[in-house]
């Protein structure tokens, strides 16, 4: 089922959470809404579900205008951040809930059969008689997914689905969710503030800031060509050096960077920690090493440019230089953005 949002607006009291967002999610696609807290991503998800009504704009499921369809008739599967399992029901009863309250009557045997199938799907066979309080967080999240899938939803919506879990469990569940999505082919929209999760899992990433879409595209698109400094910073560690643009060139302490198309004035040069080479002499911005941190697979160097800017970069574990040494940072893949919005 294709989902379209057309200029959707939501205001809470005086706070505008979502400013005219338009978005298309193709049938069978897995899309991530990525943004910092307060970016409106959860509000958008809740409007698609019908848990909030849009103040303006339209939401379509296929060709049907779903804007005013109440949540219980909208046919969405929703997985909540903290699972929202019914604590007084067993795992099996939780999964069966949607089928029991449905207008479509099913026989007890049909419900039991479907619950068995779903327990198999989420790899929790044998745990049907446990209560949610008796299973682990990762298992609870899988029960929540099974419960959402039990009613054969037209779309699957997940709100920070792995936010409350350990890093390891999170990675496993991510791969597993991707597999389930590929097997079932259900249109899926999920919300996260974790860029790694979004890039790992989604076909397409929609990056939001302050209630607006700032960029959308495949993980490759958004990683390789971030539209602005916000996206660049939000997707991962980034260093920034203030620069001045003159005649299509940006200058950081006399070091020249290409800045074609940028108006003269102040700008920022952004680059990833991995895109720096340390030189003892020659080209680059002059800097001094402040600290060297060791990590399992690399060394992270904290340095300060002679202009007083702190920067961080990653080097091979064999990096021989020590605190206090002076040299030059040679920046690969720099990105120059006009100052202002960040």
């Amino acid at each position: 089922m294709k989902i379209s949002l057309d200029n959707v607006v939501k205001t809470f009291d005086t706070f505008r959470a979502v400013h005219g967002v338009s978005l298309e999610i193709e049938s069978g696609e897995l899309v991530a809404l990525l943004g910092p807290s307060g970016s409106g991503k959860t509000t958008i998800l809740r409007m698609v579900a019908g848990l909030e009504y849009a103040d303006g704009g339209q939401i379509y499921f296929g060709d049907e205008d779903a804007t005013d369809i109440p949540v219980r008739d909208r046919g969405v599967g929703f997985v909540f951040q903290h699972y929202a399992l019914f604590p007084h029901m067993t795992v099996a009863e939780n999964i069966a809930f949607g089928m029991k309250v449905s207008k479509v009557k099913r026989s007890g045997e049909a419900i039991r059969e479907r619950v068995r199938e779903l327990l198999d799907l989420v790899q929790l066979s044998g745990l049907g008689e446990r209560f949610p309080g008796q299973i682990s967080g990762g298992q609870r999240q899988r029960v929540a997914l099974a419960r959402a899938l039990a009613v054969d939803p037209r779309v699957l919506l997940l709100d920070e689905p792995f936010g409350a879990l350990d890093a390891n469990v999170r990675r496993d569940l991510r791969r597993w969710l991707r597999k389930i999505h590929d097997d079932l082919g259900i249109t899926t929209l999920f919300v996260t503030h974790d860029q790694e999760e979004a890039l790992d899992l989604a076909d397409r990433v929609v990056i939001l800031d302050k209630g607006r879409i700032v960029q959308q595209g495949t993980p490759e698109d958004v990683c390789r060509s971030p539209h602005d400094a916000f996206v660049m910073r939000f997707l991962g560690d980034a260093n920034a050096l203030p620069a001045t643009v003159r005649n299509g060139k940006a200058y950081v302490q006399d070091v020249e960077f290409d800045a074609a198309g940028l108006a003269d004035g102040s700008a920022e040069v952004l680059f990833r920690p991995a895109d720096v080479a340390w030189r003892e002499d020659g080209q680059g911005v002059p800097a001094q090493i402040v600290r060297v941190l060791d990590r399992p697979d690399s060394r992270r160097v904290l340095a300060k440019t002679t202009g007083g800017q702190s920067i961080e970069f990653d080097t091979a574990p064999e990096f021989p230089h020590r605190k206090g040494e002076a040299g030059f940072i040679d920046i690969r893949r720099p990105r120059v953005y006009a100052s202002g919005r960040s």
Binding site: V71, A84, F86, P87
Partner: protein
């Protein structure tokens, strides 16, 4: 003895136990001893006398009716106070505690004045043929008035803590308002509701001050057990009074045990394995 991190166990436990012994256990033991000073035959004769049995029937049936009323009305009140924001909400919230704060005799006299045949409520009601003052209905109203806060105050915090995502989840799964209330909200409120019910019922069984003014106190009709015990006391028949009181005591214990078992059952999902 094991070393403890938290200080003050011997002192606080000592004070608590002494206090509990003097204030709670000692009077109960005295009561049991006084009742036991009667022989078994006399005891049985007194507690099963027609007048005593009639008083049990009046007390228990009125207390049941009052508690049932409080379950419905108290839960509705708690629901409204927690779920909605409206002008005057805080005043109503404060008013809920009034029956606790008001001397029960004052409550009894006010209710009697209101529900007497020439009172504000009693007048119109008697025109409809409903008599409240000096009938079991009056007893029921007095009981309901004094025990209402128990249900509201036990249900309210649980309702406040109820995760709204549970109801939202039930909605996304297609549940109607009624089925969400019956299958999700009510079962989660049940333990608190049971606690409120048992307190409300216990209070109703033992209520005295508010009732004697409105009840009319006719033996076999509107005489409650607490009053009968009091009458025996006035007649200096202490053992008989203690015997009747012991029946109330046993009833209270049985009821607490039953509600505890029911609560444990309702909370069995919280037991980790």
């Amino acid at each position: 003895m094991k070393r403890r991190v938290l200080p003050g166990l011997p002192l606080s436990l000592g004070i608590t136990l002494v206090y509990a012994a003097i204030i709670i256990v000692l009077p109960l033991i005295a009561l049991v001893f006084k009742a036991a000073s009667l022989g078994p035959a006399d005891y049985w004769r007194i507690v099963t006398s027609d007048r005593a049995v009639a008083s049990y029937v009046v007390t228990v049936s009125c207390a049941l009716a009052a508690t049932l009323f409080n379950v419905v009305f108290g839960m509705a009140l708690a629901w409204v106070l927690v779920r909605y924001r409206f002008p005057g909400r805080r005043i109503i919230d404060a008013l809920v505690d009034l029956p606790f704060a008001l001397p029960t005799a004052v409550a009894g006299i006010s209710l009697t004045t209101l529900f007497a045949v020439n009172g504000w409520f009693g007048g119109p009601l008697s025109a409809l043929g409903i008599k409240v003052a000096y009938t079991p209905l009056g007893i029921m109203i007095a009981m309901a008035f004094t025990s209402l806060p128990f249900v509201v105050r036990t249900v309210q915090p649980v309702l406040e803590e109820l995760d709204p995502a549970l109801e939202e989840a039930a909605q996304t799964l297609g549940g109607s308002d009624l089925s969400i209330f019956a299958r999700v909200v009510l079962p989660l409120l049940t333990p608190a509701l049971l606690a409120g019910v048992s307190l409300s019922f216990a209070r109703s069984l033992g209520e005295f001050g508010a009732i004697i003014f409105i009840a009319g106190n006719q033996p076999f009709e509107t005489e409650i057990t607490a009053l009968l015990a009091f009458i025996r006391l006035e007649e200096y028949d202490y053992p008989a009074s203690a015997a009747i009181a012991s029946v109330m005591l046993i009833a209270a214990f049985v009821m607490l045990a039953v509600t505890n078992i029911m609560q444990a059952r309702a909370l069995r999902y919280t037991v980790r394995n």
